[in-house]
Amino acid sequence: MSPWAAALLGLGAVACWLALYLSLSRISGWLTYSVLGLAEGKHVSSAVEFLVFEVPKVLLLLTAVVFAVGIVRSYFTPERTRRILAGTRESVGTVLAALLGVVTPFCSCSAVPLFLGFVTAGVPLGVTFSFLISAPMVNEVALVLLFGLFGWKVAAIYMGTGLVIAMASGWTIGRLGMEDQLEPWVRKVRAGDGEEPIVAIGWRDRIGFGLEALREIVGKVWPYVVAGIAVGAAIHGWVPTNFMAKFMGKDVWWGVPLVVLIGIPMYSNAAGIIPVVQALLGKGAALGTVLAFMMSVISISTPEIIILRKVLRPKLIAVFVGVVTVGILLVGFLFNALL
């Protein structure tokens, strides 16, 4: 394909995307009331309209962002991130690590090799944790869903507080001087040189990476999105509006610790949890409580802790979980108090 044809194709795709996105609310109303012939004002109609509007909307947003992030990530390999982090002062490194956590490709099953790759190359422990906390928590799928369902303010709050928790936790762990809490075999290993494979990457490859990310991520998470939104739709239509206020309202002080306690051991990707979150918010749960729940579910999970146990001693794991939990609790209380 010539560059011109490729550019034209790209523009066409963007135009189609925009046209679809902008006409979604009309299409969903038409589908619900004209095609399916549901009566306005009924529970079932409001649930169906919600479903046929939200599912394509979220999937469209997801497609655009995952593709874009796939391209951005082709510029940030773990080796490059490590090199940047190994060469900076700890204070700067902690901040930088949280930011790089957002754009460096990361999968929770790579957490341990990556952790070791960083630590054995001389990246300080606190800086490594800052990265390790931010990478799963500030995640593009979470941001898209938050933006799509609640608007840019909630998405920005989430990203901002997620980064702050990562930096603060990393900094705290760094101050505690816990290098002796790595498993003994870890301290003995010499870093592999981890040379970056020298491959010339052109635009074509980067777009290929974007498409690959699209297939891999959207192809995997769409059932969760649909299932989550369906749960949301059910709650939307049938559960009374203030039902959740009793358990997760602003004035229920124990709401935040309770949801964090439930959320920490749970494992779910952002796509699975956010539509449920939306349903909770819609039914009177407070934003701080809901954000705390979501952060605790996607940042730390039992499987991740089990894997990390291979390289960290229990004390360091406890500190890691403790510091992150405190950060999430503070975010929850703060937002409940402010909003």
């Binding site: 773990p78 990361f106 099953c109 090799p113 290993v189 870093a191 592999g192 981890g194």
Partner: protein, 84 residues
């Protein structure tokens, strides 16, 4: 070809879905093309560190990382093995 010593391909990963898929792709290519390679799934973290692998899954031929951090396509593996 039959009697030539087999070389080793290691597919490294802690056992996540992406790693299993990668193993399947590599295994499939080797079997289908009847290439003289033994494919082995390695879950040892020590080995990953030793090789300097920071993103899984990783495909390693004779101790050299050829693909990492993503699931390779069958054609890609075929091309790599043809050159290896």
């Amino acid at each position: 070809m039959e009697n030539a010593p087999h070389r080793k391909i290691e597919v490294l990963g802690p056992g996540c879905a992406r790693c299993k898929e990668t193993y399947r792709v590599v295994q499939h290519v080797v079997e289908k093309e009847q290439l003289p390679f033994d494919v082995e799934k390695v879950e040892s973290i020590e080995r990953m560190v030793e090789l300097g692998l920071m993103a899984t899954p990783g495909v390693v031929i004779d101790g050299k990382i050829v693909v990492y951090g993503r699931i390779p396509k069958a054609d890609e593996i075929r091309a790599i093995l043809a050159k290896a």
